[in-house]
């Protein structure tokens, strides 16, 4: 539908291709003309419900029609973005969760929703007019092109024209109208792309994220990027240190033990046997060190069973009963799985340390746009995202994936934490890995 663009292709185009592009643009103008009545409905309903928002009915209408208007705006972002050959991003802030009241509040605070509303005014006034003119130009060309035919098939005199200096009243003279065809074609040729571009640019101006939003977004992204770089650098340093002080040191000791045992084997077999048995203990602790390092990098159960199995495994390690409900039709991308796994692990550790809870639950799902995970406990509540707490670290690390964390933890409990990470799910098959055991 939106394969046509207002701009000619970079390398220029043939006359035929130019005509074809303008025909397609005229077709698009029909789409805009037909969509405008929907915008009229939105405009009327939204204006009315804002006016009567003090009574409940207005609020109910808003709950229904603000999302509908979002869909209409989304369609126009798609169409106009296609015409301009650019993607128009949706600018909405994250909607509130829970009660309808919170949802409405978050909409009211979101400039993008107000801009959507303003856009309906544009779409039914100048936007509609532009689309009509663009359509009219096309119809004009068609009309003059088929005029001789129309003149011939209609009863004599119906479409006779008297221009004073000459009259159109016969088949032969009806072709004189083709003079106007040239004018109409010229107008259509030059104005059709211009009108449709104006229309699309108006949509973009009102529906795309404003510059300030984009700037804020860039600032967020660069901050979360530098934080995740810091974080992974720190992780690598930690792993290096763990290996250096743990497994590596133990292997050195092991080598010494074995060397010494080799020396003593002939002269003092008892001492050699003691050294060998010590060497065996050292291998066990070296393996233990390596295991804990591996768990910190990528837990094997996550590799084996994906997020679902790994979260179950985490729940089983808790000393309180944790019910787990996971509905995932496929697997999230590996980095997301890993981030969400470590976040869950941190949240559960927090419950174990601070919540004094008697039970907890974990729910995991995917709403088509994002992976979500909700951890609830019946503990004492009062958890906060204050900087420096484990929870703020979780939120920071999820931010690297555009993920978010919502915390509801009144003093006295219960505590509900919801994680969301936008991602797609892959088809549910086991992916081969190259690790060995």
């Amino acid at each position: 539908m939106s394969t046509v663009q207002v701009a000619p292709p970079l390398g220029g185009e043939s006359f035929v291709a130019g005509v074809r592009r303008r025909v397609a643009l005229t077709g698009m103008s029909v789409v805009y003309v037909l969509l405008a009545p929907l915008a009229v409905v939105m405009l009327c309903v939204l204006t009315t419900s804002l006016g009567v928002a003090v009574v409940g009915a207005g609020l109910l209408l808003l709950l229904l029609f603000v999302p509908l208007n979002e869909q209409l705006a989304r369609l126009h972002r798609h169409l106009s973005g296609g015409l301009l050959g650019a993607r128009i991003e949706a600018p909405y802030a994250r909607a509130g969760r829970g009660s309808p009241w919170r949802v409405l509040r978050s909409w009211a605070d979101d400039p993008a929703r107000w801009r959507d509303f303003a856009w309906t005014w544009m779409a039914v006034t100048i936007g509609w007019a532009l689309a009509w003119i663009a359509l009219g130009l096309g119809l004009l060309v068609v009309w003059y092109a088929i005029f001789p035919l129309v003149h011939a098939v209609t009863p004599a005199g119906t479409f006779d024209m008297d221009y004073g200096i000459y009259r159109v009243d016969s088949v032969a003279t009806s072709f004189l109208e083709w003079g106007f065809l040239a004018v109409a074609f010229g107008l259509w040729w030059y104005l059709e792309p211009v009108l449709m571009r104006w229309r699309a640019e108006l949509d973009r101006a009102m529906l795309a994220p404003p510059r300030s939003v984009l700037e804020r977004r860039v600032a967020e992204v660069s901050q979360s990027r530098s934080e995740s770089i810091d974080h992974s650098a720190a992780e690598l340093r930690r792993i290096e240190r763990d290996l250096h002080d743990g497994a590596q040191a133990r292997l050195v000791a092991l080598g010494m033990n074995l060397g010494l045992a080799e020396e003593l084997l002939a002269t003092d077999p008892d001492a050699a046997a003691r050294l060998l048995s010590e060497a065996r203990t050292v291998t066990t602790s070296a393996l233990g060190d390596l295991r804990s390092v591996v768990r910190g990098i990528h837990p094997p159960v996550l590799a084996d069973r994906g997020l679902a199995g790994a979260v179950q495994a985490l729940a089983l390690d808790m000393s309180l009963p944790v019910s787990v409900t996971i509905v995932l039709p496929g697997r999230p991308p590996a980095p997301v799985e890993s981030a969400v796994y470590f976040a869950t692990s941190e949240l559960l550790a927090n419950i174990g340390k601070h919540a004094a809870a008697t039970r907890a639950s974990i729910d995991v799902g995917h709403d088509g746009r994002a992976l979500w995970l909700v951890v609830e406990d019946d503990g004492v509540g009062g958890a906060s995202l204050a900087t420096g707490s484990g929870l703020s670290g979780v939120a920071r690390r999820l931010a690297a994936f555009d993920g978010t964390m919502d915390l509801v933890s009144p003093v006295g409990g219960p505590t509900t934490i919801r994680l969301e990470v936008p991602c797609a799910l892959s088809s549910p098959k086991t992916s081969p890995s190259s690790a060995t055991d």
């Binding site: 066990t284 179950q312 089983l316 060995t436």
Partner: protein, 215 residues
């Protein structure tokens, strides 16, 4: 005693073969993936299988899945599963795959040759063997107000060794006390945890203790 070994790394496969043969086991097949394992279990009819969790082609948990599938096909088939790491989740799945004749150990335990060989024999004889790390985690997750907290340190030690699948004699040897002292401890533990004192048979005792700890 006839053994099938499934382990994809040649170094460890040969090591296990040599070790078990040195202790009088007959290694009838040493295979390197789950498909070959299933074939070997069907054709060789071993007394016990020693299986690595992570094997080709996906290098995840096919050893575990193969073991559980084989036990579903032939109930009571003794399988000892070895892994570089242990998970409560996998322990549960293995224990749930039939009554006894199952073991789940860290690969590290192979280094303690006598205990490892003992574990293979226990599993072959229909017993249950659980890795100390699994048992420690099970005991650690008992809530503060559970009867486990009323056990003395010694009793808790004995409880752990029972859950690992050790016999009274083995526990006595490990703790350097007499078997009589151990049976006193075990009856105390059964009383404090309110377990059925009739569950004294070697495997029933392990299952009762584990079931209790798993909650």
């Amino acid at each position: 005693m006839r053994v099938v070994i499934a382990e994809d790394l040649a170094l460890l496969r040969d090591g296990l073969t040599r070790l078990l043969e040195a202790y009088g086991f007959e290694v009838v097949a040493a295979v390197e993936d789950a498909v070959q394992l299933a074939d070997a279990l069907r054709t060789c009819r071993p007394d016990v299988a020693v299986v690595d969790v992570r094997m080709p082609p996906t290098f995840t948990d096919e050893g575990l899945r193969a073991a559980i599938a084989a036990r579903a096909e032939r109930p009571g088939l003794p399988v000892l599963v070895l892994s570089q790491y242990v998970e409560q989740l996998y322990a549960r799945e293995l224990l749930g795959s039939g009554d006894g004749a199952v073991g789940y150990l860290l690969k590290d335990r192979v280094a303690d040759v006598t205990t490892f060989v003992e574990a293979v024999r226990t599993v072959a004889a229909g017993g249950t063997v659980l890795d100390p790390e699994v048992v420690a985690a099970l005991i650690a997750r008992a809530p503060d107000d559970s009867p486990v907290s009323r056990l003395t340190d010694r009793e808790r030690e004995v409880l752990g060794l029972m859950a690992e699948g050790r016999s009274n004699a083995a526990i006595a040897a490990a703790l350097f006390v007499t078997e009589k002292a151990i049976s006193k401890h075990t009856s105390n533990i059964f009383m404090k945890l309110d377990l059925d004192p009739d569950d004294v048979g070697a495997n029933r005792r392990v299952m009762a203790v584990i079931a209790y700890l798993q909650g």
